[in-house]
């Protein structure tokens, strides 16, 4: 009789431990589900933030291109906004292609990382100011992309309207600074 009681009590105790373990197991399962859900939400938020960051980066770069003293039109050393000097652009291209001094290329690669920047003349009232060197038309300023188009998770394109000034013919034409940022 006593043995039966003992056995019964032992079983009861085991049941109690089992119950506790089960409660803990359920608790951890719920916690894991919660964490997975939280991680998913966080990754979604991170993705959104990354997109915002890339958009900001693109705008920052576009602003930087527009205000580059190497390209900007000046009148008595005073800069003219939203204007690209065609002769400066030619000089700039030559400087970038100069293999004797690659430090300039590296300087711009650091300034505009993982980006491709070109200038496109869109309206040609007095002839071509910028002889295009790209398939889709336009002059390539730099191609600092280290992520290929296939591997890129996102490519953001921003076109900023500018005027292109040719000092030789003293003429202006409309154009775009086209900026592709890879992420």
């Amino acid at each position: 009789m006593q043995l039966t009681i003992n056995k019964f009590q032992r079983k009861k105790a085991q049941l109690k431990i089992g119950e506790s373990i089960l409660v803990l197991l359920i608790f951890f399962i719920l916690l894991t589900i919660g964490l997975i859900f939280y991680a998913k939400v966080q990754s979604h938020v991170s993705e959104k933030e990354m997109d915002q960051f890339n958009a900001k980066r693109t705008i920052d770069m576009a602003l930087a291109v527009k205000f580059l003293p190497e390209l900007q039109c000046t009148m008595q050393a005073t800069e003219e906004f939203d204007c690209i000097d065609a002769l400066k652009l030619r000089a700039f291209k030559e400087m970038m292609q100069n293999n004797e001094n690659p430090s300039y290329r590296r300087y711009f690669a650091r300034m505009f990382p993982n980006a491709k920047i070109s200038i496109k003349q869109s309206f040609v009232p007095m002839g071509v100011i910028l002889p295009p060197d790209l398939e889709e038309g336009g002059v390539l300023l730099f191609n600092n992309t280290y992520t290929g188009e296939a591997e890129a998770t996102g490519i953001q394109r921003l076109s900023l309207p500018v005027t292109i000034y040719d000092p030789i013919t003293d003429s202006n034409s409309f154009g775009f600074v086209v900026l592709d940022t890879y992420s």
Binding site: D60, A64, P69, D85, A91, I168
Partner: protein, 385 residues
């Protein structure tokens, strides 16, 4: 009957014994079970507590890192925006995080070892090419930005000056030296363009008589003469340092000496002076933390100058070879063929003779470019700059 009774008593005795034994073993088991429960609760509780502490800590670290990164990126955008437009000044509210600016003078053509960071976070933004004159620490709710464009005479780029309302700038001139007073006034008037900067102008005698301490964290005294008198001022709890534009006839090209608080009275030989070239560089010296910080930023500025000069030179060649009657204009004083010396740049170890070499190179470059430009305007030809 007696036997039976005794047997019964014996039985009773045995059953009581078993009961006691059972009770004892039951108690023992209960004690073990209770102890086990406590151990179980303790272990599981510790695991759960550790887990939450770990999650909380990593979340806090991550969010701090994220916040620092965001603030740093926003600050970088603000600075880029400020640098884009010249002669602009602003007083921006920023989160009260300690900003650290570093710039080491050992630079190369690739740029300088320079960055700004939020203290104790490990998050920093490298600024190898950005010309940014600032104190080494800014620990304030506001960031004062100011930009001026450096011209040679063509526009080379914008210099960015950073400070906070905690800094006070005191300009001091010698009452007996007209040149000293003129230069101090010129620079003082330039500083007044930025309404957010605390700047005051005193003659030496006024400074001794009327100077009052304020609650500014840091005071920078800027002397526009080779001061050689020791005087005592009550500056309250503020820190201070001194810079001296010690040339007999101070101008926008000259020499500057940085003195720390402990070196304040060790003037005389002006050893360790370094050159500044242009009004913008002179202002840069006033905002720079120390000599090294100034050299580093001047090195960046000279790298920009070299690159922009190349552009204008090539542009002059294109203008020269273009059809029309203007081609002869651009070969004036051989600007298109002008070459900068191989060792052109701001020297790491600035020697006395370096000043005149750099000054003459810059003056030749500037005057040639100016002449070409004036000639072009006079002959209705495209301007050089």
């Amino acid at each position: 009957m007696v036997v039976k009774h005794s047997i019964h008593r014996k039985k009773n005795f045995f059953s009581r014994n078993i009961l006691i034994n059972n009770l004892f073993s039951k108690n023992k088991k209960a004690i073990i079970e209770i102890q086990f429960n406590w151990i179980f609760i303790f272990i599981v509780g510790s695991v759960i507590l550790m887990f939450f502490i770990f999650v909380g800590k990593s979340y806090l670290e991550n969010s701090n890192l994220k916040l620092s990164g965001k603030v740093l990126y926003d600050l970088d955008s603000i600075m880029k925006g400020a640098t884009s437009s010249s002669k602009s000044a602003s007083n921006l509210p920023i989160p009260k995080l300690k900003l650290e600016f570093t710039c080491y003078p050992e630079c190369s053509t690739e740029g300088c070892d320079s960055s700004f960071a939020i203290s104790n976070t490990g998050v920093n933004k490298p600024t190898p090419h950005e010309v940014m004159f600032a104190p080494s620490n800014i620990d304030s709710d506001y960031l004062i930005t100011w930009t001026l464009d450096w011209k040679m005479p063509f526009r080379v780029g914008n210099f960015l000056y950073l400070t906070s309302p905690d800094n006070r700038y005191i300009f001091v001139y010698d009452d007996n030296l007209l040149e000293s007073k003129t230069m101090a006034e010129k620079l003082y008037n330039l500083f007044l363009d930025n309404e957010y900067i605390t700047v005051e102008l005193y003659s030496e005698s006024e400074l001794i008589e009327t100077f009052e301490s304020t609650n500014h964290e840091h005071i920078r005294f800027i002397f526009f003469y080779p001061y050689d008198t020791d005087f005592e001022l009550d500056i309250g709890k503020s820190n201070f340092d001194i810079i001296v534009f010690h040339d007999a006839n101070p101008s926008f090209n000259g020499n500057v000496l940085f003195l720390g608080a402990n070196e304040a009275s060790s003037q005389g030989d002006f050893e360790g002076s370094i050159g500044y070239f242009g009004k913008e560089a002179m202002v840069g010296a006033i905002f720079s933390e120390d000599r090294e910080f100034f050299i580093c930023n001047m090195h960046k500025a000279f790298n920009h100058l070299e690159r922009i000069f190349e552009i204008y030179k090539t542009r002059a060649i294109y203008l020269k070879t273009s059809p029309g009657s203007c081609s002869s204009i651009y070969i004036y004083d051989n600007f298109a063929q002008e070459e900068l010396p191989d060792d052109f740049g701001y020297p790491l170890y600035f020697k006395e003779e370096d000043f005149s070499i750099i000054e003459s190179t810059l003056k030749t470059m500037a005057s040639n470019a100016e002449k070409v430009n004036q000639n072009a305007i006079f002959n209705s030809c495209p301007r050089l700059y």
